[in-house]
Amino acid sequence: MAHQHSVAPAVAPAAAPAIPAAPGALARFLDGDVWHSFKNSPVAIIAAVIATLCVVCALFANWLAPHNPLDLATLELMDARLPPAWEAEGKAKYLLGTDDQGRDILSALMYGSRISLFVGLASVVVSVVIGVGLGLLSGFVGGRVDAFIMRVCDVMLSFPSILIALLIDGVGRAMFPNAHDTLAFTVLIIAISLTGWVQYARTVRGSTLVERQKEYVQAARVIGVSPARIMRRHVLPNVLGPVLVLATIHVATAIITEATLSFLGVGVPPTSPSLGTLIRVGQDFLFSGEWWITIFPGLVLIMIALSVNLLGDWLRDALNPRLR
């Protein structure tokens, strides 16, 4: 436990890599209060510890994983479908058991969460860039541009995101039938990000409409700063607060969307299995009693999604001045 506590301080920065770096001044200004509220919230600390554990395991899978699940040469079919080590037929070598090809589940989980986290974070970053950009433009320029962007948002919002992601994914697959790994990842990330940008666009547009009425923007106009520069240097830093919160929670959503798409068989290529792919593969073995092949990836997915969600909830309260 003492060890875990020593991990906790590293967490606040670790929870934020998905979010484009807020300007230093803002971050420093928030740091004091946010840190204080973090120390006093046991839920946030536990969530942060779990999230950090998952991230560390995923990041350093190469060194931490007991086996290399992607190296076909090391697989032994003799070791296939072994139950977890604590069950009678389990081997200590494979803590969480093995799958049908003799892959170590624990190692597959580490490598799998790396892929899930990567796709999730990348999709959030792309969503934030698109959403914040369009939101700023919409709020700052107004008029027809605004009306058009907001109409597109309305239409997007009236369809469930999983459906839109599936469609974009399907179109991508149809356009590049022989897509190799990198391209498959790109298509997947684009599909997930194109469904997620709407909330950023709407939030940022709202705050931009407020900000642009303020005196500092007028002052900047008066001294002849170009609109593009006002948007980028003056308005943007002031509308990023809510984006930070949205982005944190969005990481969980994006990871779940990725898992769902991979589970449906239209996500990451089968050569680099993510958590969703592992669950998909494992589902076939449920009936022959090999529950561990699908349940462990499922548990890891739940752990990641829940801890990120809880962190996001905490961050929302911590950054909300009315609740302080």
């Binding site: 009236s158 589970f263 349940i295």
Partner: protein
């Protein structure tokens, strides 16, 4: 009022035309229909002849108009994977999805409303906190995982319920349903419950917050002051007034349920439209994808439109607010 309806209708039309256009672009530019039909080694003359037969040499807008007319009649050509008419394929699969979605929606309402009322009336009690935490889990857990866990518990461990397919079905003309056979009903339990969790949590949370809101109003206090029994206050006065938004949201969710059925149908191998669609995505079967896209868009737009109009008709306060806001 008339202007509002007209604006909504026009918006719906724009969405449908946009979706049809996307579907058309899919047909035209993703995958070459001529190659698909003739194969790689056709002569240029054959290709040219087929292009003319298919009308591919005509101007863009003529082609789009033709596509739209065909689509409006439900005609999307042949499935690339199965070589059968898309309209027939979808017609075969539609009843299964309809059955699943309807039962899930009803389940969501029938469980969600009482639970929501309970959580509002006994706010702060242990059980209502259990309900609220459970609903939070229901929202944040991936749906397919819940399905798998249910299979593990009820199908694999306890062996109470079957976990894939529809079981025995009874056919009425084009519609087939498993609602009238024991086997069919058994097969329906797990997928329908899994699919209903999402609308259920939504309805539960909505009913709870609306109830809390309504219970604070003056007319509830007045009803209490008149000495009406609790049951009458809660159910005849309070609940009635929370149901307008609930029904609206439930209506809007019907479309979402049909879309989410894609995932549930995959988990439980339920032979509905969603499974058809996911196979189409896996194999880049454009005609099926385009047809599904248009059908889903039509369902969504219709539901949105009906709900909007209903909302408008049912709640007189909105009429004033909306026209004041220039909506």
């Amino acid at each position: 009022m008339l202007a509002f309806i007209l604006r909504r209708l026009i918006q719906a039309m724009i969405v449908m035309v946009t979706v049809a256009f996307i579907a058309f672009m899919l047909f035209q530019y993703v995958g070459d229909p001529v190659t698909n039909l003739l194969g790689q080694d056709a002569t240029p003359q054959q290709r040219e002849a087929l292009r003319r037969d298919l009308g591919l040499d005509q101007p863009f807008f003529v082609q789009f108009a033709k596509f739209a007319v065909n689509a409006a009649q439900g005609e999307f050509g042949l499935s690339l994977r199965q070589g059968r008419k898309v309209s027939v394929l979808i017609a075969e699969r539609f009843p299964a999805t309809l059955e699943l979605a309807t039962v899930a929606a009803l389940l969501g309402l029938l469980l969600g409303i009482p639970l929501g009322v309970y959580a509002a009336l006994k706010r702060g009690s242990f059980m209502s906190q259990v309900v609220m935490t459970g609903s939070l889990l229901g929202v944040s857990l991936p749906n397919f995982l819940i399905g798998i866990l249910l299979i593990l518990v009820f199908a694999v461990q306890l062996k109470w319920l079957p976990s894939f397919g529809r079981g025995d079905v009874v056919s009425f003309g084009n519609l087939s349903t498993g609602l009238f056979t024991i086997d069919g009903l058994k097969h329906l339990v797990l997928p329908a419950f899994t699919l209903s969790l999402f609308p259920m949590t939504l309805v539960l949370r909505l009913v709870r917050s609306e109830m809390l809101e309504v219970l604070r109003t003056d007319y509830i206090k007045f009803a209490r002051a008149r000495g009406l029994p609790d049951r009458s206050v809660y159910f005849r006065h309070a609940l009635k007034n929370t149901l307008v938004p609930v029904i609206t949201i439930a209506g809007l969710q019907l479309g979402a349920i049909i879309a989410f059925a894609i995932v549930t149908e995959t988990v439980f191998q339920w032979p509905g439209m969603g499974l058809l669609f996911i196979q189409a995505v896996q194999f880049a079967d454009i005609p099926v994808m385009a047809a599904y896209l248009c059908l889903i868009a039509l369902i969504f737009v219709t539901i949105n439109l009906v709900v909007d109009l209903l909302y408008f008709a049912v709640d007189p306060r909105l009429r004033i607010e909306r026209s004041a806001a220039g909506h």
